[in-house]
């Protein structure tokens, strides 16, 4: 038997929290109750309005005063010397790559911060249910024009359809040294990938593929023609390698 529709159910529906039989039941019920349907639609418009009003904050550079200190003793649990050493190494890398914006990358390697920044951006935006991107793939021409203008290079999102991933859209973010672009892809299982594109500070001669694992996120990154690219996802290293190769080829062929 179907449970009766309650007020909390209506909110859960408006917030996209119902699934399966309950969702079907709700849609049938709402079709027969146009007044409640109108109310639910109004709630959804409110949420959309909130996103339009405040999502811009997500793309602002984080003010320096809000950044946690790079290496406060409290962060260390001092469980082992090895952990300490590992953290200090991380702090050193952070120090070298993050806090000295004037420092140029070494000419032969992509910035050490590229995979880290890409993984952070991946973690921030892939869980977004309704607003994962600023400009959707349905406006691809606009998306391409806008991101190309902001990054100062013709930018085209690679297509990953042959691997089962569709372009969701893109957004502009504040990176370590200026604006960066993020494209998001999704497959039929709602698994998401992000491609992070960052202008490189210095001419880089090494375009070789590199791999990093950042808190469960697999990142393949490389440099091509003064831009750093990082593909992030968590479908496992082997799978990600195949996807990154696809992206790499499309970009290199341009």
């Amino acid at each position: 038997m179907n449970a009766p529709i309650s007020e909390p159910d209506l909110h859960a529906y408006a917030d996209g929290r119902l699934a399966g039989a309950r969702l079907t039941q709700m849609e049938t019920w709402l079709a027969a109750h146009p007044e409640r349907r109108a109310e639910v639609d109004a709630w959804r418009r409110q949420s959309a309005q909130l996103h339009r009003a405040y999502d811009a904050v997500l793309n602002e550079a984080i003010p320096a005063r809000l950044m946690p200190p790079a290496n406060p003793p409290r962060w260390l649990e001092s469980r082992s010397v090895a952990a300490m050493a590992w953290l200090m190494l991380g702090a050193l890398i952070g120090y070298l790559s993050g806090t000295h914006p004037t420092q140029q990358d070494t000419p032969h390697a992509p910035a050490a911060s590229l995979p880290r920044m890409a993984a952070v951006a991946h973690a921030v935006y892939t869980p977004e249910v309704r607003h994962p991107v600023e400009v959707g793939a349905d406006q691809e021409a606009h998306l391409v024009a806008w991101l190309s203008k902001r990054l100062g290079t013709p930018l085209k999102p690679p297509h990953l359809d042959q691997a089962g991933y569709q372009l969701v859209g893109g957004r502009l973010l504040a990176g370590d040294s200026g604006e960066v672009a993020q494209f998001m892809y999704e497959n039929a299982d709602k698994t998401r990938l992000t491609l992070y594109i960052q202008p490189q500070a210095a001419q880089t001669t090494d375009t070789s593929f590199r791999y990093a694992r950042e808190n469960g996120i697999d990142v393949f990154y490389w440099v091509e023609d003064r831009y750093g690219y990082a593909l992030s996802g968590n479908t496992g290293r082997d799978d990600m390698l195949g996807l990154a190769t696809l992206v790499y080829r499309q970009i290199a062929e341009r």
């Binding site: 007020e7 909130l50 405040y54 904050v57 997500l58 793309n59 950044m67 962060w75 469960g216």
Partner: protein, 167 residues
């Protein structure tokens, strides 16, 4: 990704929420800064199995409660002090945002919090209940009241009788 990076990854959302909650950039960032400082102090008490995001929102909520104590409950902002909104927007959008911001300011803070945590931050109802330390039923009833009231305010049906409180 280190813990520091995990926290940094949450900052944009904390700022978005605080901006919508307070309506002011500087006050919002003050609140975020205090939240981050408190999170660092309490880091050892964070249980790994608990998601970081609701934990940070709960810290922010408790801080806001502390700050509110002894202050005027209702704050009215006139046109000059209306918040700036960071937005690439045309004029119509800007006006819409201004209206929305004003409307939010007219909601009781308990309703505003829940409306934003659900509608903007998309936290699960259970996470909202834990973050605000209220029973799940209270989340739903406040959400319901908040949405009805926001709708009325935006439609111009609710003209609140508020006194200007100088802080």
């Amino acid at each position: 990704m280190s813990r520091r990076d995990a926290i940094i990854a949450e900052i944009p959302r904390l700022r978005r929420y605080a901006r919508a909650l307070t309506g002011r950039t500087d006050a919002a960032d003050d609140l975020v800064q205090q939240t981050l400082e408190r999170a660092l102090e309490k880091w050892r008490f964070w249980q790994r199995e608990r998601a970081l995001r609701p934990w940070l929102f709960s810290i922010m909520h408790n801080l806001r409660i502390d700050t509110l104590r002894g202050e005027a409950r209702i704050e009215y902002r006139d046109d000059e002090t209306l918040p700036e909104l960071a937005q690439r927007a045309d004029q119509d959008d800007a006006l819409e945002l201004r209206d929305l911001d004003r409307a939010l300011a007219l909601l009781p803070i308990e309703q505003r919090e829940i409306l934003l945590l659900v509608g903007l931050e998309e936290l699960s109802y259970a996470d909202v209940a834990r973050a605000l330390n209220v029973p799940p039923g209270t989340v739903m009833s406040r959400l319901s009241r908040a949405r009805a009231r926001l709708k009325a305010i935006l439609a111009g049906e609710a003209t609140p009788q508020l006194k200007v409180v100088k802080s």
